[in-house]
Point group: C2
Chain length 230, copies 2
């Protein structure tokens, strides 16, 4: 089976960067399904599958269209129950939601701060203008003012990862002995940073960085098929 | 089956207050097992079951002795697989560990700050002296200095619960439609505060407070059998 994924890109169609699309990419690979991507710019998102969602990822699997990375993971697990599970039980489904909320509220704001000028620089002219206008309205600040906070915030960001860091003393993945969708949720956030920006979020000696490297190795090194920003 | 629980108390043997013991209490009730408690003061912990652990909870189930609330929950699920599950799958087991680390590193430090003088006041003379000496060594501060930070920290504490608050827009419990051990982990921390201190951690309008009330209702209102501090 081949899943069609509308995947957010900038000027370079071979550098998908969206954290949420990466969650979907990893989930599709985890299920052992083939993936065919439609590189999609910000301004094209409203036209995806007739405007089914304001955001990507969106997937098409035959006749079925699903938007939202979490909904995609739930769909894939239900549609392909004979393939490796993304949640490993209803408890895992429920708690993955907590981890998604934690990642979104803990990691995403700082990655946005740290990478916002790089994300802007990845877009073509029209999309860069959209991105600047949209994000400056959201933050009530110029992009240049947003990014100015990143050095001062780095220490607090690293501290905010302490629950994950501490958990890694017990098990190699959020999913336990092997990765589940919860791992891809947090992976997506750090992969977004890795692809967009050379800014160094983590020390190599950090067990969180080591876990991220393990995630980059998964599914034949799928995460490494896009080089880190330099 | 009756499980013997060594449960931490202060001067009043009927007011168990330990967050970790409450996790075990709720887990035993969730499994539909009877519970028999041994009220245990701080200074008695080293003598529990021949000194099996530096901390309570410790349970005895027939010949089997288990220490540590998470290990107790895992044990109960393995020993009584025909009774309601505490994890609902291996994914739930793995991710409950993340939630435990999040609760321990996010909620526990602030509850300690907020309730430390009240916790001290709950102990008899010998245990109060132990508690003061032990905690002042840990913090490098007088207890009176620790608690002085609570008003200034309250806003940040409430903000730190945002992942839980946000998750509650999706589902009524951390475990999904019904509670699992992950709920009892966070419940234990807030129940510790509720029993030790009248200090108001949450607004009634907060969905986290509403979730906590739902947890107090569980298992025939088990959590309410000990009145809130006043």
């Amino acid at each position: 089976m081949t899943i069609l994924l509308y995947d957010l890109v900038g000027r370079d169609g071979a550098r998908p960067f969206s954290p949420h699309c990466w969650k979907a990419t990893m989930a599709i690979a985890h299920k052992g399904l083939d993936i065919s991507t439609v590189p999609t710019r910000f301004l094209e998102v409203p036209t995806v599958e007739g405007g089914v969602s304001k955001l990507v990822p969106v997937i098409r699997d035959g006749e079925k269209v699903v938007a939202d990375s979490f909904a995609i993971a739930l769909y894939l697990d239900e549609a392909y129950p004979e393939r490796p599970t993304l949640f490993c039980g209803d408890g895992g489904k429920a708690m993955a939601r907590f981890i998604e909320r934690w990642s979104q509220l803990t990691i995403h704001p700082y990655v946005t701060t740290a990478a916002i000028m790089d994300l802007h620089a990845m877009q073509d002219e029209a999309n860069a203008a959209y991105f600047r206008q949209n994000r400056e309205q959201r933050f009530g600040q110029r992009l240049e003012e947003v990014v100015a906070a990143r050095d001062a915030g780095l220490g607090a960001f690293r501290t905010s990862l302490e629950p994950l860091r501490s958990m890694l003393a017990y098990q190699p993945f959020i999913g336990g002995q092997s990765p589940l969708f919860a791992d891809y949720i947090v992976f997506g956030a750090l992969q977004w940073a890795r692809i967009a920006s050379p800014y160094r979020l983590l020390d190599d000696s950090d067990v969180v960085a080591q876990w991220f490297e393990r995630c980059l190795d998964l599914h034949d090194g799928l995460g490494r098929t896009v080089a880190a920003a330099s």
